[in-house]
């Protein structure tokens, strides 16, 4: 199968949906001629023109709110927020408006919109451009939250998100944008809310997502040589969470390690751990549920510090060994 990058996969997903449905359009800061801060929308301005690929002023609140307003009146907007750190400015419109309209109005509204936003550290951009804030969005009923780890998932999930009739926060991973992977040329979508077992194993379950998946898989291959078979489960959609798949894997292996880049305290790993600890899997666990996550600090600038503020190949491996003891 041909290989394309994660960024290209996202670009293709948007283009395909925009070609099919004229209600779909893209707006955001510098998404037009510039092609987006990370080049994700490159070429779309040329293909669809300035009406459907809209550069906005630097105004995150109204970007999110205008998306909600356009969605509730019949469009299917995709809004880009340039860094997920700036979702902080759009929270009222996302959380109090877009997410709640349907319920507040007794089911009469439909708010089909996607907010695409890149998260994560590793680019040397320091504390205000590097956060992983997915846990916040997962605490908001009415939203869906997606965070793909491969080009294949990115394309299939984004197409599903655009087709979904609810507000979806689609968190992209900066460090994956340039990573390539196989993506079929044929049409496909991946249903929201279905986890994917990225690797089968029987000894220990890693639950992880986004850009932590590649190192988890690498480590899994390495320890496999020593006879430790790790299962790597990627929820892909964090809200709604595919609890069944996660719990089944925990029951199977009896050991759960949760890995994410976001700061540990208050991170989504807590939710995952809690779901498992409150399930039947509890009776099958033979070790505490471990969370390996970002340190509880803002992201530092200096490369060495930045690298070590989140789980690494080494710390993932060490955690596996420790749990297998």
């Amino acid at each position: 199968m041909r290989e394309i990058t994660y960024a290209q996969a996202i670009n293709e997903a948007m283009r395909e949906e925009m070609r099919k449905d004229e209600n779909v359009f893209l707006m955001g800061e510098d998404v037009g001629l510039y092609g987006g801060a990370f080049g994700v929308s490159v070429g779309m301005f040329q293909e669809f023109g300035e009406e459907r690929v809209r550069d906005t002023p630097i105004s995150e609140a109204v970007i999110a709110g205008a998306a909600a307003g356009a969605a509730v009146t019949g469009m299917r907007p995709i809004a880009e927020i340039m860094f997920s750190d700036f979702m902080t400015i759009a929270m009222d419109q996302l959380v109090n408006q877009a997410a709640k309209m349907r319920y507040m109005f007794g089911g009469k509204a439909k708010v089909p919109m996607v907010i695409r936003t890149p998260g994560g550290c590793g680019t040397g951009a320091a504390a205000q451009h590097s956060q992983s804030l997915e846990a916040w969005f997962c605490h908001v009923p009415g939203l869906k939250v997606v965070i793909p780890s491969t080009p294949y998932d990115a394309k299939g999930l984004l197409k599903a998100a655009i087709q979904d009739d609810n507000p979806v926060v689609f968190i992209e991973q900066k460090l994956l944008y340039r990573k390539k992977g196989p993506v079929p040329e044929e049409e496909y979508t991946i249903p929201l809310g279905k986890a994917d077992i990225k690797r089968m194993g029987k000894d220990l379950t890693i639950i992880s997502y986004g850009r932590m998946i590649p190192p988890c898989l690498e480590v899994a291959e390495e320890v496999a040589k020593e006879g430790i078979e790790v299962e790597v489960v990627d929820p892909r959609t964090l809200l709604p969470l595919d609890r069944e798949t996660l719990i089944a894997s925990a029951i199977k292996t009896g050991k759960v390690l949760i890995v994410h880049e976001a700061v540990k305290t208050g991170g989504f790993g807590g939710e995952i751990a809690a779901v498992i600890a409150d399930s039947d899997a509890f009776f099958y666990l033979d070790a505490p549920i471990r969370r390996l996550a970002g340190l509880d600090v803002p992201i530092p600038y200096c490369p060495e510090l930045e690298k070590n503020v989140v789980p690494t190949h080494e710390t993932i491996k060490a955690a596996i060994y420790e749990m297998m003891e």
Binding site: F25, E51, R52, R54, T56, P57, S59, A61, V62, A64, G65, A66, A67, A68, G69, A70, A71, V72, T73, G74, M75, P77, D92, Q93, N96, Q97, M101, R102, Y103, M104, F105, G106, G107, K108, A109, K110, V111, P112, P141, G142, K144, D165, N166
Partner: protein, 318 residues
């Protein structure tokens, strides 16, 4: 512009609906029969009704926490509206929204809003749809003087201006945002002057004069379809406290009395009589009908059941 008799009588009736509706709500609250809080529109009727009467059904509005006037202005089923207020299953939001979240998408009311300034970006989005789909309609966005100090106001007016959206911003300046007066919360006299910051026209009008409001919005409709947004500031006043729990310490009795003299309903009545549009008998009949319709709505609402507990998880997702 001359306004037809039918329209004027319709406006008169709607303003009475607002007044009577709010009186009922106030009564319910005083009796502890309603849950939560509410923000009465009494005293400001001419703004909502005048503005909405200039719109067609296909035109859209966004509203505020003080939204009952907008609902009625835009045309609403009074029964369902009253039922929503009482949290009943038959209400607009099946009892889940209450006073601050009544929406009637079928008649172009995109909803009240509990967040000050929260509806302004949504109006921008609705106007964007209108433009992209080339629909022949306008969006009218209500918000208060207090909301004009939120960042969302700024971002929204700017974006609507840049995109030349068919959007009429109507600032209901009732001189206070809760207890804080505009004199304390901004250093300018007229909020309409903020329009210049976005390169759009701004206009100050008497928000207690339904005819003036109507005419202004009528003109604005044509303007915004061609040239992009406009900001209208309607000067008005709320007679009651901000919400049910307001002791009104920040306003003088004299000020309130002064504004009560400028009653928008009396004003329209006088206009209709003086210009000979309607006779006093005709207006009396309208008054009677209005009172009856509100009574009917109350009856409908009171006789409606509360939503069943089973519905609690419904309608989170489409």
């Amino acid at each position: 512009m001359t306004i037809s008799k039918a329209t004027l009588e319709e406006m008169y009736k709607k303003m009475l609906h607002v007044r009577k509706f709010e009186e009922k709500v106030a009564y319910f609250f005083s009796m502890g029969m309603v849950h939560g809080t509410t923000h009465l529109y009494v005293g400001e009727e001419a703004t909502a009704v005048g503005a909405c009467s200039a719109l067609e059904e296909k035109d859209l509005i966004t509203s505020t926490h003080r939204g009952h006037g907008h609902c009625i202005g835009k045309g609403i089923d009074l029964n369902k509206m009253m039922a929503e207020l009482l949290g009943k299953e038959t209400g607009y939001c099946k009892g889940k929204g209450g006073s601050m979240h009544i929406a009637d998408l079928s008649r172009g009311n995109l909803g009240a809003n509990g967040v000050v300034g929260g509806g302004i970006p949504i109006a921008v989005g609705a106007a964007l749809t209108t433009k992209m789909k080339k629909i022949d309609r306008v969006v009218l966005c209500f918000f208060g003087d207090g909301a004009a100090n939120e960042g969302s106001f700024h971002e929204s007016l700017n974006l609507a201006a840049v995109w030349n959206l068919p959007l009429i911003f109507v600032c209901e300046n009732n001189l206070y945002g809760m207890s804080v007066s505009t004199a304390q919360s901004m250093k300018i006299q007229n909020i309409a002057d903020r329009a210049a910051a976005y390169g759009i026209p701004g206009k100050v009008i008497d928000g207690n004069d339904a005819v003036a409001v109507y005419n202004t919005v009528m003109e604005a409709k044509e303007y915004v379809k061609e040239h992009g947004p406009i900001l209208i500031e309607a000067k008005t006043y709320r007679w009651s406290g901000h919400s049910k729990s307001d002791a009104n310490v920040y306003r003088s009795k004299e000020e309130i009395a002064e504004w009560r003299k400028k009653c928008p309903i009396e004003g329209l009545k006088k206009y209709m009589l003086e210009t000979g549009v309607s006779t006093i008998e005709e207006l009396k009949r309208i008054e009677k009908e209005a009172v009856q319709e509100i009574e009917q709505a109350v009856e409908f609402a009171q006789n409606s059941p509360y939503p069943s507990l089973d519905t609690i998880m419904d309608d989170v997702y489409a």
